[in-house]
Amino acid sequence: MIVEGTHEFNVSATELWTILMDPEVLAKITPGVSKLELLGEDLYKTVSEIKIGPVKGAFKGKLEVIDKNEPSSFTIQMEQLSKIGNAHAKVEMNILSLDENRSSLEFAGKANLSGLIARTGQRVLSGVANVIIKEVFSSLEAHIIENKIA
């Protein structure tokens, strides 16, 4: 499953980097994630609940931030395990500075699914993933606005 896209934010590249590196922010904006627990440097334990059409499951896994190149790029490596199947994903993130108050985030990666979630409805999952990613960015925007007001 391929995921890719771009989203613009009304913060500078450096600010965006700082926000994205905050585990609390990550936990807050990622749909279904109920817990993001620090295991080590840039390595988190995740617990999440996801429901996509007929497929519903509690996922446990690891999220790791690797290849950090502040403030322009990093890669998220994720392993999510559940009774209904597993997901292994690697997504490269590129932050581009547009001007001093605006930046954009480009992401591109691949998620390998296995188990029941791989063989049931996978053909519609890319669409679902993009919906989830949009939700992530909406939440992130909301978070930025909230914090700016604050």
């Binding site: 007929p54 009774k83 597993n86 390998n112 188990g115 791989a118 063989r119 049931t120 409805g121 053909r123």
Partner: protein, 788 residues
């Protein structure tokens, strides 16, 4: 004297099936029965670093959890029943196929642990808590890519993933020379995609060890109980065969996928002694998708050469066949002796060479699926013929008439010796196509096609197929690598009151044997059909059997019944002669009684049977009883053939293909029950057309089956089909007593290329000169073909 043969007698088995009283394996309950559930690999290729069962073992109801290392070394893996050798004489690669893996999984669904609990739900809950630590490895799923350098390796002892590299027919240089001098060469690269068998009843097995008798019973959803017993006892578990009873009760469809001996059968049998309780396992639908042996999956290149008059001069076929991760029971035979041997088709092609490379991949095993090799051969040949006709701008029907083998009956004229090992039994090929053209209204159709201007593209496709059925002479299949004989067994037991119990080694899983076989017995013995009962599927009541596949039940199993009846009637005549105080030579048997020729002195069948069991007034020295069996080993395969024609309409805007008409004229030899044969043809057509337009198994490049449910895998529905227009010609088989050839696979074999050819014809006539649209021909693929 045919009161029943040739009549559409309603199926006696249908009453129990349509009233919900059929008894399938999963319906069977045994006191103390436990339930098993498999922990299966979610990955196509991975090292199993550890399997932790601690938490799962403590869960409610859990009785035992077996992992790979619990299976004793003395238990072998699942065996392969057919050996195919490399061109150079080397034996095929035959890597072990363990009941549960120990340290490596090789396809999604590979068995890692077997959880046994008091209830099915408990077993499943516990299975979800078995913790397996995998190290994921690269996978390969395409048979051609699997043989390329750098591909992930499935088995260490099969270098390049090659199981064997095989060829058959004329020397390649002679074929090449004939192609080089041909006036036209038609070349096609194509795939025959993988399909999932999708029997309505999932596989199911119950193992039951009875310590009182030291005897095992295996109930299993199978097409051949005796073969399962032989393979499991002798090659897997090492249990004496007489200590095992295998029962294949009512079975809800198999299409080949239930021929094979599966690991689950051996595992429930073995485990039932380990825990000293019966164990039932029934596959979930998702499990069926992952583990029932799949069908087809060939990647091919073929060239057919024609002279200036349109006569075929040579055929060269190259195929990569996917065998999946492990060798299933008959897997090696399918792309070779059931595929290469059919490359002559109905044509006089003087030079034919077939080259097949069979590869292991990280996918579910591939084995015989309705037609098994013959659909792939027919697809290759018939696609080339219709495409060549388009390229040469000649009529595809005319091109076939020009190349048909002339008629031969196998009695006055010898059988036809092909370039690819087989000798056809009898054939008269032009009439099936003539009749099909008549039914189509061919000339009128071509006018309609030329005149069409409604934004739709109309096309017609042909397929004139031949298949080898009635599998088959033991000595021949033995020479070709079969590790079993392929005869069939019947026992005709006349009860004292004249009622008849027939025990057959053929197995019915939807074919209607209880009706067809009873029609034969009733007619041959001159008794009412209600006096006959057909018993099958139980190794303790049926002496032996080789089961049902390859359209063999009637040709081989039915012939064994006829031979048993002959023995019964021969002895009966002697008893009758004694009672009538006449010579047996002076008697004739008709309508259930023996009559002294030219007199009205007669004795009825029931009187003779009673005498045989109450032998007070009885021929001196003759044994009592009237009960005979026969082992029938045929002299040859049988060779049904036919002409299938599809008419399709393509929507130019959407690429949607609508099947407008389907005409099938089949020659399956003599017909016992026309209604049942029609049903077989209809079902076969649905499956073959389904492959052309709807079905296709998709593995992604990590080896995940991504359409493993009915939401994702497209099965054809009734409203995808027009009302089929079918007819028959009859060319009897010269070498079996019934003159029958077999009808189970004909529909599937002939139909797929006819539909695809019709789509290609529609595209060409619409100005899109595409050679191939890969199956299944979805709207998206057809649209893309028109818009590229």
């Amino acid at each position: 004297m045919t009161k029943y043969i040739g009549k559409s007698i309603k199926r006696v088995e249908d009453k129990r099936f349509i009233t919900g009283q059929g008894r399938y394996t999963d319906d069977i309950k045994i006191n103390g029965m436990t339930h098993g559930y498999f922990v299966r690999s979610p990955y196509a290729h991975a090292k199993v670093k550890s399997v932790n069962i601690d938490a799962a073992s403590k869960m409610p109801g859990v009785i035992k959890i077996f992992v790979g290392s619990d299976i004793p070394e003395t238990i072998a893996g699942v065996p392969c029943g057919w050996q195919v050798d490399f061109k150079n004489g080397d034996t095929m690669k035959e890597p072990p196929h363990p009941l549960l893996v120990r340290n490596k999984v090789r396809h999604v669904g590979d068995g890692v642990a077997f959880v046994i609990a008091e209830t099915r739900a408990q077993a499943k809950d516990a299975a979800e808590n078995v913790d397996v630590d995998y190290e994921i490895l690269d996978a390969v799923t395409c048979p051609k890519k699997a043989t390329e350098a750098g591909a992930a390796q499935v088995h260490a002892d099969a270098p390049g993933n090659l199981c064997f590299d095989w060829e058959l027919g004329s020397p390649k240089d002679e074929v090449a020379a004939a192609l080089a001098s041909a006036a036209h060469v038609c070349e096609l690269d194509f795939s025959n995609q993988r399909v999932v068998p999708n029997a309505i009843e999932p596989r199911s097995a119950i193992g039951h060890y009875d310590s009182a008798y030291d005897k095992y019973t295996l109930y299993t959803s199978t097409q051949n109980p005796h073969l399962i017993r032989l393979l499991m006892c002798a090659f897997v578990l090492g249990i004496p065969e007489h200590k095992v009873r295998v029962v294949g009760p009512d079975v809800g469809g198999g299409f080949g996928s239930k021929i094979f001996h599966y690991a689950e059968e051996a595992l429930v049998t073995w485990s039932s002694k380990e825990i000293n309780r019966p164990i039932k396992w029934t596959a979930e639908r998702s499990e069926s998708f992952l583990t029932d042996a799949h069908g087809r999956d060939h990647v091919s290149n073929a060239k057919m050469g024609f002279d200036a008059d349109g006569k075929i001069v040579a055929l060269q076929a190259y195929t990569y066949a996917n065998l999946g991760a492990y060798l299933s029971t008959f897997a090696p035979a399918v792309p070779t002796y059931l595929h290469g041997t059919l490359m002559q088709g109905l044509y006089t092609t003087p030079k034919v060479n077939v080259d097949v490379k069979a590869a292991f991949t990280h996918t579910c095993a591939v084995d015989a699926y309705r037609g098994a090799g013959r659909p792939e051969a027919t697809y290759l040949l018939e696609r080339l013929l219709d495409l060549a006709a388009l390229e040469m701008n000649v009529d595809p029907a005319e091109l076939r008439f020009k190349n048909f083998i002339p008629p031969f009956d196998g009695v006055e004229q010898e059988g036809y010796q092909t370039q690819v090992a087989l000798q056809y039994d009898s054939g008269n090929y032009a009439p099936v196509l003539e009749r099909a053209l008549e039914m189509v209204g061919y000339d009128k159709f071509r006018e309609e096609q030329a005149a069409q201007s409604n934004g739709k593209l109309l096309g017609i496709g042909f397929s004139t197929y031949i298949e080898a059925c009635g599998i088959a002479p033991s000595a021949v299949v033995g020479a070709l690598g079969a590790r079993a004989g392929l005869f069939e067994v019947a026992q005709v037991r006349v009860q004292p009151t004249g009622k008849v119990s027939v025990f057959t080694g053929s197995h019915s899983h939807g074919q209607g044997h209880e009706t067809t076989f009873a029609q034969i017995v009733a007619d041959k013995m001159g008794i009412p059909i209600d006096d006959v009962e057909i018993i099958h599927g139980d190794s303790d009541s049926v002496a032996f059997g080789m089961g049902t596949y390859g359209s063999r039940s009637l040709a081989v199993g039915g012939s064994a019944i006829v031979n048993s009846i002959d023995k019964v009637l021969e002895k009966g005549a002697k008893i009758a002669a004694h009672l009538l105080e006449a010579s047996a030579d002076d008697l004739e048997y008709a309508e259930g009684k023996w009559t002294v020729k030219g007199t009205d002195k007669s004795v009825a069948f029931g009187d003779v049977s009673l005498t045989a069991y109450v032998p007070h007034n009885y021929p001196e020295g003759m044994e009592p009883g009237l009960d005979f069996n026969a082992f029938y080993d045929p002299a040859n395969f049988t060779y049904p053939f036919g002409a299938h024609v599809a008419i399709v309409e393509i929507d130019k805007e959407t690429g949607e293909v609508k099947l407008k008409r389907f005409i099938a004229v089949d020659d399956v030899g003599n017909v016992i029950n026309p209604m049942i044969v029609d049903g077989q043809i209809h079902g076969g057509l649905a499956q073959g057309i389904g492959q052309a337009l709807h079905e296709g198994t998709v593995y992604d490049d990590t080896g995940q089956l991504i359409n493993g449910s009915y939401m994702d895998y497209c099965m054809p529905r009734a409203d995808d089909f027009p009302s089929f227009e079918i007819d028959r010609t009859v060319t009897p088989c010269p070498h079996n007593p019934l003159g029958v050839k077999g009808a189970g696979e004909a529909g599937t074999i002939g139909s797929t290329p006819a539909v695809v050819n019709a789509v290609i014809d529609a595209l060409w006539k619409g100005g899109f000169k595409v050679k191939d649209v890969p199956m299944p021909m979805t709207p998206e693929r057809v649209w893309t073909a028109m818009n590229n």
